[in-house]
Amino acid sequence: MEHYLVAMGVTAGIYAMMALGMNVIWGKAGLINLGLVGLFAVGAYTSGLLTLRFGWPIPLGLAAGTLVASLVGVAVAMITVRLRGDYLAIVTLSFAETMRIVMSNELWIANGTDGLSGIPGPFRQALGPHLFNLQFLGIVTAVTVVLFFLVERLVNSPFGRVLRGIRDDEQVVQVAGKNVVMFKIKAFAFGTAALGLAGGLYGHFTSFIAPDLFAPLLTLYVKLSLLAGGLGNSIGAVVGAVLVVFFLESTRFIIPLVPGISHVQGAALRELLIAGALLVVLRFYARGLVPESIPQPPLPAAPPDAAVAIERVR
């Protein structure tokens, strides 16, 4: 049981990292990324292949995975950033699917659908499975905390304010003389880097990755994490990830209790529940269960009658 909880914690941490990255792209800059699972896969495969086939040390592999995912994110953003948001949606989703097709079919890159096994984990042999998981929980927690503070710093900086401005009214930001395209690309670069890092860590934790793991459902999990916690809210992203993992894992126990359904039906019911949950949250809490709080700038001191006038305008 303890073993299981630790593994759950690691998964929650990895989802939290993705949710934090998506918080910058979606929550702050208002950009869409429906193919985040593709970038997660890029990170996982890059780091997995470099450490397994070329003997790179794990931290270097992770760094490479993060960098490559970010570069791919930038390329995707550059092609579509001047177009309507729908195009970004189409291209990101198509990217994730293409990535899956290529990885499934190309045996020489990573064994196709059989996947890549035996990806090294830090001190896996020396620690044994139990201690290894505990250690990994520590690593994931530390990385999540660092990422959390990075995101917080980023979104509270002038850069973050511009992103929020782009999300709320692009034209106003443009009129203010900001290079909107550049800001969007940078937001995408940062967010996709977080996705790549999460992917890399995932591979080193489970030691096995295969194209099937990078199904579009994972994209929904992360969106659900972000919404459950509150869009545009970093603490919410982390709390949401924990809630979603708990929800996902609890469906694993509840569904076998439903009488008279087969294994496939159970799996279908589980996915149906998750998609349904996302639809409900999206419908009734589009800004998330805990909405973002936007700090109000203090009003300058004004004579009493002016203050009344300001109140009336508000």
Partner: protein, 286 residues
């Protein structure tokens, strides 16, 4: 000769692909969002046709009508119950909502029918060989059905009052509203026709191969490619785009292994968006 055979195959496949691509682009033109739930409606159509064809023993052509009807009705319901509210909240919410919807509906089909591959009940026919080009009668039948459906759709848009009001809303929703066109009614008709076409397309693709709940999601990439290459929002564009993608995929077999055929669609999307974002016949991209 090999090239000619590939082009014929590509044109056949492209014509079938055009049917759901028209659905995607019509929704984009009128309701102004990309409806990713098209994938699950293709699956629903394919399975509705399966029930009509295998369970009730109807011939394939009659089952296609059934596929259209069921997918269209579910399209109206899902738009009315789920997606309509999202549209007011902005396109990101709508896009994510339609992805969640497509996964929910796909799993509903999986819950009922399971994961195994199924085939339609079709008469076994020998391929025709016309001056060295091999064509199966089923391919020809699918091709003819797709052409008739598209001709009917173009006539509907060009000559009927409802069709004209759909084009009016697509062109200028505000002017259409001033002229007293009921946008809600138009939205319902578009959802019905577009998702009906998706369902029909799903079954047409299934007639060529086999069906399983993933049939829609597996094809969605090609449909995006067709719609984007032709110009998102342009119905003639979707047809042209589908033919380009269909022929392009087949011709890619000359240089690539078959595994990469689906990736051709993605490459086409990237090329078009880089050099001509409006697509071949579209107008709106920015």
């Amino acid at each position: 000769m090999e090239v000619l055979q590939l082009i014929v195959n590509g044109l056949m496949a492209g014509t079938i692909l055009a049917v759901p691509a028209i659905g995607l682009t019509a929704i984009f033109a009128v309701l102004r969002f990309t409806n990713f739930a098209l994938a699950s409606h293709m699956t629903i159509g394919a399975f509705a046709g399966y029930v009509a064809n295998v369970t009730f023993g109807l011939p394939a052509v009659a089952s296609l009508g059934f596929a259209f009807l069921i997918a269209g009705l579910i399209g109206v319901l899902s738009d009315e119950i789920v997606l309509k509210a999202f549209r007011r909240a902005g396109f990101i919410t709508t896009a994510i909502g339609s992805i969640a919807l497509t996964i929910a509906l796909e799993n509903l089909v999986r819950f009922i029918f399971g994961n195994q591959l199924r085939g339609y009940n079709l008469p076994i026919q020998r391929d025709w060989v016309i001056s060295g080009i091999r064509i199966s009668p089923q391919q020809v039948e699918n091709f003819v059905v797709a052409v008739i459906v598209m001709a009917a759709l173009f006539a509907f848009l060009a000559f009927t009052r409802t069709g004209k009001s759909m084009r009016a809303v697509a062109d200028n929703p505000m002017l259409a509203a001033i002229k007293g066109i009921n946008a809600n009614a138009v939205a319902r008709i578009v959802s019905f026709v577009a998702m009906g076409l998706a369902g029909l397309g799903g079954m047409l693709i299934g007639l060529d191969t086999t069906i399983d709940p993933l049939i829609g999601f597996k094809t969605i990439l090609q449909i995006f490619a067709a719609a984007v290459v032709g110009g998102l929002g342009s119905i003639p564009g979707a047809v042209v785009g589908a033919l380009v993608v269909g022929v392009g995929e087949e011709l890619s077999l000359l240089v690539l292994t078959p595994a990469y055929r689906t990736a051709v669609g993605f490459i086409a999307i990237l090329l078009v968006l880089t050099f001509r974002p409006r697509g071949i016949l579209g107008q709106r991209a920015y």
